[in-house]
Amino acid sequence: MRLFVALLCLIVLALPDHASAQSKELLLFNWSNYIPPALLKRFEAETGIKVTLDTYDTNEAMLAKLQAGGGGYDVVVPTGPTLQAMIRDGLVQKIDVAAMANFHNIRPPFDHPSFDPDRAFSAPYMWGTTAIAYDKTALGMTLDDSWKEIFEPRPAVAGKIAMLADMGEVYSAAAYYLGLDTCTTDPAQAQKILELLQQQKSAVKLYSSSGSIDRIASGEVVMHHMYNGAAHRAGLRKPGITYIYPKEGLTLWGDNLAVPKAAPHVDAAKIFINFMMDPKNAAEASNFTGYNNAVAGSDALLLPALRDDPAVNTPADMIARLRPARECPKAAIDLRERVWTRLQR
């Protein structure tokens, strides 16, 4: 019986490996649930390029795989700070997005971000913010738009809070609240952040970056440190879930499409990236993911629920509160890790 299985394996493996260098193929490495399958099918129909999709769940996972030499992908989707690191380390190649046909659709400030000012390496994909979502109906009150609500919670909220299990996001939130630099290299400031987080810990039910939508929609927590797209989807499931733009500041992050150094099908990658800068396609992606995009003209094609949700469509008076995400220097990351480990020991 075992011999039979062994032979079967050999036969299956001997089957031709169709990952050859035809230009009619695209190997996409994306976040899970981050691009509609229907859109990929339409791309295949329009261009004749077959798309293979592999997924990852964090920037770090994708980065680690590429840094270790793995991959062989044509398009990856890093968030801004990660892309900055990848450009610096030579992990992505120049594809001159600014010269592409659809580039004129990109609206500022996404056409010249700090991590890729000339848009030589990447095109914008989805963008979003990270802040607090709470269940207004369950609590029966409106909360202030301040990080204080999560770091020094009211009695009704304490014990029913979920924080993201992401050291960067939690650290930044604390830094915003205390008015400190999110990339601080001053140990005394890091100590203050640590103390705030330690003091908050007893009021936190759990730290988790997954399943946030279900967690707040089912009532397991009444307040969640959350991404705005997730808050939007939670609000669809349970009306009353409200997103706060804290006055002390909140992170604005953007995901980008980039091409790794050793991509086998660069032409197909460029066609795909240009395709995604078309308003119709960007709108379709937004409607699927629940996040906003950077392409002008897509607004008209967004689902009304998405367009009218202030969590996703940031109101003009809140834009000043957004702080673009930054890649911190080694010393700052080090301090952050030490604070997080001390918090979790």
Partner: protein, 261 residues
């Protein structure tokens, strides 16, 4: 031979059945939820097969499922075969270096998955090994060898040595001795080792993520990334299907083996 009357060991039955129930409790929940009409996990809102339809419409998931089964079968087979040989060689072995080899065989258990994943990837890149499904199988064989080895070793060490001596006295060569005497006696251990290796491979996420080539995603990696949004009932439906497949395989193989007994 009939089973020993269990009233002599009543505690064993209670705990045994309780243990099985414990193992199946979450399974019941997830199978039930795979039929729930609603997207949310908060409760039951009616019977529906939509998630099963979604699974069959999801090419990526089906491909991942196929990959997982192929990898697990191949890896478990090679691992169990080499584990049997190693266990026989190390049985009652007192040669120099035998404990080092035993430690080597247990090494995959100690290494944290992420370290193993990145280390093997770095190594593959260094030697120019092309990433694909084969790289996953190669890595999995390494990971599950100890899972197959330990039960077989445990069983072998409990065997009565006089049986082998008797066979040798009757002029049976070592190969015949193994085939006729040892092998039948350790058959349950081989089955157990194979099963442990199989589920070990099916369950591996981190190493599979790192060493897989494009398009060679396995099911756990696919599910892991999906779970960020929350476990959708589609994942539960896929898991239930996997359970059904396992039951089908078992029934089939026990039918076949009974035929050839």
């Amino acid at each position: 031979m009939t089973g020993l009357s269990l009233w002599r060991m009543p505690g064993a039955r209670v705990i045994g059945v309780a243990a099985l129930l414990f193992l199946y409790l979450p399974i019941l929940v997830l199978v039930a939820l795979s039929f729930s009409a609603d997207d949310s996990l908060a409760g039951w809102s009616g019977f529906s097969l939509r998630w099963y339809r979604a699974v069959f419409a999801d090419d990526n998931m089906l491909a991942a499922l196929r990959h997982s089964l192929v990898v697990a079968s191949c890896a478990a087979t090679f691992a169990t075969a080499s584990a049997i040989m190693a266990a026989v060689a190390l049985d009652r072995a007192r040669f120099r270096g035998s404990s080092t080899v035993e430690a080597l065989l247990g090494l995959p258990l100690v290494v944290p998955e992420i370290v193993a994943g990145i280390a093997v990837l770095l190594f593959f890149v260094l030697i120019g090994f092309r990433l694909g499904l084969i790289s996953v199988i190669v890595a999995h064989i390494v990971l599950v060898i100890p899972l197959a080895y330990l039960p077989i070793r445990a069983r072998l060490s409990g065997l009565d040595p006089s049986l082998k001596e008797a066979a040798a006295d009757l002029y049976a060569g070592p190969v015949a001795c193994f085939r006729r005497i040892t092998l039948p006696l350790i058959r349950p251990a081989i089955a157990a080792g194979f099963m442990l290796a199989f589920i070990g491979s099916l369950g591996d996420v981190v190493v599979s993520y790192f060493v897989a080539g494009p398009g060679a995603t396995t099911l756990p990696v696919y599910v892991f990334a999906m779970v960020r949004m929350g476990v959708s009932p589609e994942v539960n439906a896929a898991s239930t299907l996997l359970l059904l497949i396992s039951i089908a395989v078992f029934t089939l193989s026990s039918r076949i083996s009974r035929r050839f007994m």
